[in-house]
Structure formats: structure tokens, C-alpha cells
């Protein structure tokens, strides 16, 4: 048996219907990926909330840190020219 005594934690992502992205819904414990999917079915889709499930062991997720959110997201802050409203066109021009 492995050193770990407890079932690891998994993050659960569910596609609620085709055409939509998988979305994080929460976490659960399971011994392996297959069991994580089965448990996710029972915990998160008892009322047809999903058509597809992704499971990822929580320790494999790398997250950005809130402390760095300034340096990470600020560069986009002053780039108004990335938005269509930055460009002035006369009203006569249609469909643009």
C-alpha cells in the first residue's frame, strides 16, 4: 500500500450542456480518476446538471497568486486600443 492514507482531493469541472465550457463546480475525494468521475456524477449531477465531467487531482493545479495579480493583470489595464470603442468612425459608416 502507498504511504498516503487518505484519498486525494480532486477538482471537478462540469459541462452543463454541449456548446458550453466545462466549469469548476467544487472538489471531492477519490482513490483514483475513475472513482473521482463516479463520485462527481453522484455529488454534482444528481439533477442532470451535466453532460461531461473533467476531474483533475488538486495538487496538479497551478494557480496564479492573488499577491501578484497587479503585476499579472495591470499590463492589460491601460491598453484601451484593444477595444473597438477606441476607434472613432463617422456615424455614416454602417455595419462596423
Amino acid at each position: 500500500m502507498s504511504e498516503k492514507k487518505n484519498w486525494p482531493l480532486w477538482e471537478i469541472f462540469i459541462r452543463s450542456k454541449n456548446g458550453l465550457n466545462h466549469k469548476h463546480v467544487g472538489s471531492l475525494h477519490a482513490a483514483d480518476a475513475e472513482m473521482a468521475i463516479e463520485n462527481a456524477r453522484d455529488v454534482y449531477t444528481r439533477r442532470m446538471e451535466g453532460v461531461s465531467i473533467w476531474v483533475v487531482e488538486s495538487e496538479h493545479i497551478t494557480a496564479s497568486s492573488p499577491n501578484q495579480s497587479e503585476s499579472l493583470f495591470d499590463p492589460a489595464n491601460d491598453k484601451v486600443y484593444r477595444h473597438p470603442t477606441f476607434y472613432n468612425l463617422p456615424d455614416e459608416v454602417k455595419h462596423m
Binding site: M1, S2, K4, K5, N6, W7, L9, G26, S27, L28, H29, A31, D32, M35, D42, V43, R46, R47, A63, S65, P66
Partner: protein, 323 residues
Amino acid sequence: MKAPTDYAHLEDQFQARIDAEEKIEPKDWMPDKYRKTLIRQISQHAHSEIVGMLPEGNWITRAPSLRRKVALLAKVQDEAGHGLYLYGAAETLGAERDDLLDELHRGEAKYSSIFNYPTLSWADIGAIGWLVDGAAIMNQVPLCRCSYGPYARAMVRVCKEESFHQRQGYEIMLTLARGTEAQKKMAQDALNRWWWPSLMMFGPNDAESKHTAQSMAWKIKRFTNDELRQRFVDITAPQAEFLGLTIPDEHLKYNEETGHYGFGPIDWDEFWQVVSGEGPCNRQRLKARRRAHEEGQWVRDAALAHAEKRRQRQAAKNDQKVA
């Protein structure tokens, strides 16, 4: 260690975010006491969902029809789900699931005192759905706007599922109340026994509630215990009247001036007695929880061993491919 002034500054920033109705997420800075308060509250809430399965599970095999049986089974399964969402939310704060369960099984953690009362007749299942789930909904709806993101999101899921619980309970009460004399008596008896413990579910009076002020400032709590209790009485009294049943409180009376129902004093001695472990079923509930946990140990071990074996087999296969 941060210098005290740094800490005070961080706390001010934190409070400013809360005041601006920003949600706090797991990796954000938060005061230790905020974290501890949430772990305590969320784990107690999770324990309540799990222990709450016991008094109702007791009636699954004896439900009077297949329709009632599938409904009760689905409800009890939902409560297991609620417990899991909540343990998951507590884990985002750094709590370990095993530690939380150990605290429960050692009798050190609290859970809602309502689940320490026995379910003596089928009507109790109706009364629980109507009153206990009803009171839980009253408590949980404002928690959907709690400042801590994962708790709030768990509550949104829970609240979506709770309304069926309450409706199936009220339907049971309605059927009994419109049935034979004996059935009506059974429904009244269940209401008599569950009414006061349901009012106690909202916790001590505001003047006695030591955590309320801080929890309100942190927007973990949005309404005080007494506010929620009053709202519950106001909504439930007409529902009892519709059933043709009598709420066991001679002081219960609608007050035209305030627009609220007045009600009699709550027996807080009984409340504290049950909270401290001396309710009718405290020992039985903990014993059942412990037994379920201990008897499930071999399953958890076997699943891990199986997963490990498959991992090794897969690794050996991959090695062969490389070779």
C-alpha cells in the same frame, strides 16, 4: 511574522473589500479569526447535514409507499451531497477532512441540536421536511451572499435542492392532516414535538449570541438569529393553519400593529442541555456515525490499494513501451 501595523493595515484593506461586497477567495489574504470562524461554521454545518441523514434514514425502509420511499431516499442522498459540498468548502480554508471528521467522532464538534431528537412516527418525516428543512432554508438563503466565495457557492447549490425537501415534507403533513382521525393525530403529535426544537435551530437570542456582531461585520451572517426566527414563525404559522393543525404555543398570536406573530418563551435550558450532549439521541447519533466511519475503513483502504496497484501496472506497461 508580520509587524503589528502591517497586520492592522491588511485587516483594514480586508474589511474595505468586505464592505464593498467583494467576495473573498481561498488564496486571498484573510485575518486568522475570519478563517477560523469560517472553518468552525462550515464544518458544523457539514456535520449537521451528515448527522441529519440519521433520523430520516431510519424511515426509508418503512416509508408507506414507493413514491414516499424514492422521495425520502433522494432527500437523504441530497443531505449527503450537502455535507460533501460543505466539507469541500472548509478544505479550501486549509482544514483537513479527516481532522474535521475526527473532531465530530470524538464528540468535540457541534452540529445542529435538532438531529438529537428521535423520529417516532412517519409523521415526523413530514414535520422534519416542513419545519427542519424550512428553518434550514431560512438560515441558508442569506448564506448564498456570504462574503466567502466557496461557502456562498456551496449554499447556492444547497438552496436549489432544499425546496423539494420542504415541499415533500409539507405534502406528507397535508396528506396526514386530511386523512383519518388517527393520521391527523399523528401529524399533530409530530408538530407538537418538532415545533420548539425547530425554533431553537436559529440559535440563542441575539443578546446571548457571542459571534453574531463579528460575523455580521464580516458579512458571513446577514441577519441575526432572532430576525430569522421571527421570519420563520411568520411564514410557518399560516402554513400550520392551512393544515388545520395547532402550533403548541399558547402565546402565538398575530400582532396587527407589528405585522408579526408574537410567540412564547423558548426553553433555553433544554437547548443548552441538548447542545452539551444530553439530548435524547446524542449518544445514539455519534455511535451510528462512528460505526459507519469505522466499518467503511476497509473500503477506503481497499480502494487506495486498488488504485495503487493499477498505477504500478500502468507504469510497468509504460516502461516496457520505452524499452
